[in-house]
């Protein structure tokens, strides 16, 4: 590990400094002007992960309090932001295998294949920790480092949370700690943030070993979605599961369900999602979602060799059942998201 990075040590090195569109302002101000204030920002928090100064989330927006005095003007945020020079990805993407899977040992949103992939990678020794988003009783997200399968007895670690989780700042911390490698799961914006980090800095190439993407149409801010759901009559103390199936948002409680059309929540969709065209997370190592397979199964699009090795391990050990998945079922949503390209203002 250390030898690969270059343990010899050097006294001189160069850093490629990115171009500044606004020459008389700091790099953060550039980022703010180009990405955040134009509502391109997807809140992936890649900038917050790499920033040595203090980029963080203020309210629902990414911001840097006191940036006038605290911004070191290093340019790292601009280098890693996937939307600073935005090349939107769309479509089904390349894949080796397109299958449906249902984990025999975990329970998740559908077939719990995300959990199964990451845990199997830990067991294989490919990674030593996986970053999961858990939630508390109020359905606010918190990040967990999972090192052993036993930790998944906390069932709130699995399952979709229809709100933002701060994966990338946690990834940066994990990369500093890890010895073997880190595996993450995230929405397409998070995946594109990780790929930009890996493109810019070798340390992320070396240490992030498995990136699982999720099928994603849009995401909601925590305050907005909880307020909306409460107005619709959802009691969070009894809430068990949330689903979006065939355009309907279904909240399952211990004593009933609340259903409404997703289109009703159009106004509270996070602003960065309105310009996102990637439904299937085309840059990930494997993409997982519910569309394209029958109930109880998760669709898995295996894209890279490392994910293929994990699927083979799972098949060998018999940890999951596999079945057929239908790509045609994704067409509608892929098209739905591609239409958002029109929202991107080009200057």
């Amino acid at each position: 590990m250390a030898a690969a990075i270059g343990a010899a040590g050097q006294s001189e090195w160069e850093v490629a400094v990115p171009e500044k569109p606004l020459k008389d302002k700091t790099y953060f101000e550039n980022l703010k002007a180009k990405v955040i204030d134009t509502n391109l920002c997807s809140r992936c928090l890649t900038c917050a992960a790499i920033c040595p100064g203090g980029i963080t989330v203020v309210g629902n927006k990414v911001d840097f309090p006191d940036y006038e005095t605290k911004c070191l003007d290093c340019g790292a945020c601009v280098r890693v932001c996937p939307r600073f020079v935005y090349e939107p990805k769309s479509g089904l993407g390349d894949y080796i295998e397109f299958i449906a899977g249902r984990s025999k040992r975990f329970a998740g949103q559908d077939g719990a294949m995300v959990t199964e992939l990451l845990v199997s990678a830990i067991e294989m020794g490919m990674i030593d920790r996986g970053l999961f988003a858990g939630r508390d009783e109020k359905w606010a997200t918190e990040m967990f480092h999972v090192r052993e399968p036993e930790q998944l007895a906390i069932t709130t670690l699995g399952g979709t949370k229809y709100t933002f989780a701060d994966v990338l700042p946690e990834l940066k911390k994990a990369v500093m700690f890890t010895k073997r490698g880190v595996g993450i799961v995230g929405t397409p914006c998070i995946v594109s943030g990780v790929r930009k980090l890996q493109q810019e800095y070798p340390i992320f190439r070396e240490r992030v070993k498995l990136v699982v993407g999720l099928f994603c149409t849009e995401n909601f801010h925590y305050d907005d979605i909880t307020k909306f759901l409460q107005e619709k009559g959802v009691d969070f103390s009894k809430l068990v599961k949330t689903d979006i199936i065939k355009g309907k948002f279904i909240s399952t409680m211990t004593d009933g369900k609340v259903k409404f059309k997703v289109a009703e929540a159009e106004d509270i969709i996070a602003s960065g999602c309105n310009v996102c065209t990637d439904f299937t997370a085309v840059e990930s190592d494997a993409s997982v979602g519910s569309v394209g397979s029958e109930k109880g199964f998760s669709t898995v699009a295996v894209r890279e060799e490392n994910a293929k090795k994990v699927i083979e391990y799972i098949k060998e050990k018999g940890y999951a059942d596999f079945g057929e998945a239908d790509t045609s079922q994704l067409d509608f949503l892929i098209g739905h998201k591609k239409k958002r390209e029109e929202n991107i203002k080009r200057d």
Partner: protein, 250 residues
């Protein structure tokens, strides 16, 4: 119900001649001691007990040798050492003698050999606040009014123990050869992962790390001659790509 008979505990029996002999001997010893006493007490402060050279006492400090590595503060088991910023923007240790346990771990761990040991064991304070010794007071020996004209050593022989008094003053400060210093310098072990934040340059107390920007490239340089190996840049690097390595001499 039959009761078990209890045994009576009796003391040891001596016969009369033994008793008389021991009594007479005891009184004889007392009389002998009254005439020729083997007094063991030391008349402090007019005499001082001669402490061995390794005695762990008051701690002295030499700022010229300090590299602000914070080792003493980290290793102190009683949290007695706090580092305080000096006007020169370097950090120097201050010792709180209310907490210090005189283990001298700080002296053992000092990289530059700046902390030194003395044999002084009797510094007195009037209140607890005085015990917090700032760096200025650690540079010289504390003010001592030396009333002692003699120093006392114990001479222990097989069946005899007595004091030996020698005229003169016992020295309080022991010269110790400086520790073997392994020179280490900071080096970057993953140059491509540097984000160019220049936190290391800001942290460096000795100005060993410098940067220059030209043509859209930021050049970072570590001057190994100026680097003292304190390790602050290693700690503060946001990507953790700096490491202390053995200094190479050409």
């Amino acid at each position: 119900m039959k009761m078990k008979s209890m045994k009576k505990v009796v003391g040891p029996e001596y016969n009369l001649s033994e008793k008389i002999k021991t009594n007479v001997y005891a009184v004889g010893v007392a009389m002998q001691e009254s005439v020729y006493p083997h007094t063991m007490t030391v008349f402090y402060p007019r005499e001082r007990k001669k402490m061995p050279d390794n005695y762990r006492g008051f701690i002295l400090f030499d700022p010229d040798k300090c590299i602000s590595c914070f080792n003493c503060s980290f290793v102190c088991p009683a949290n007695a050492i706090r580092m305080k910023e000096a006007p020169s923007r370097r950090y120097y240790p201050t010792v709180d003698y209310g907490r210090c346990i005189f283990c001298h771990f700080c002296i053992d761990s000092c990289s530059g050999g700046a902390l030194k040991a003395t044999k002084i064991h009797d510094v007195a304070y009037k209140d607890m606040d005085e015990m917090f010794t700032p760096t200025e007071e650690m540079i010289e020996l504390p003010e001592i009014i030396r009333e002692d004209k003699k120093y006392v050593e114990y001479e222990i022989e097989e069946d005899d123990l007595h004091l030996k008094r020698t005229k003169g003053e016992d020295y309080l400060f022991v010269e110790v050869p400086p520790p073997i210093q392994i020179p280490m310098v900071s080096q970057c072990i993953d140059r491509a992962s540097c984000i160019g934040c220049r936190v290391c340059e800001e942290m460096c107390e000795s100005g060993a790390i410098s940067s220059s920007a030209e043509n859209g490239m930021l050049r970072m340089k570590i001057d190994t001659d100026k680097c003292t190996g304190c390790g602050l840049c290693v700690k503060e690097c946001s990507m953790q790509i700096l490491m202390l390595k053995l200094k190479k001499f050409e």
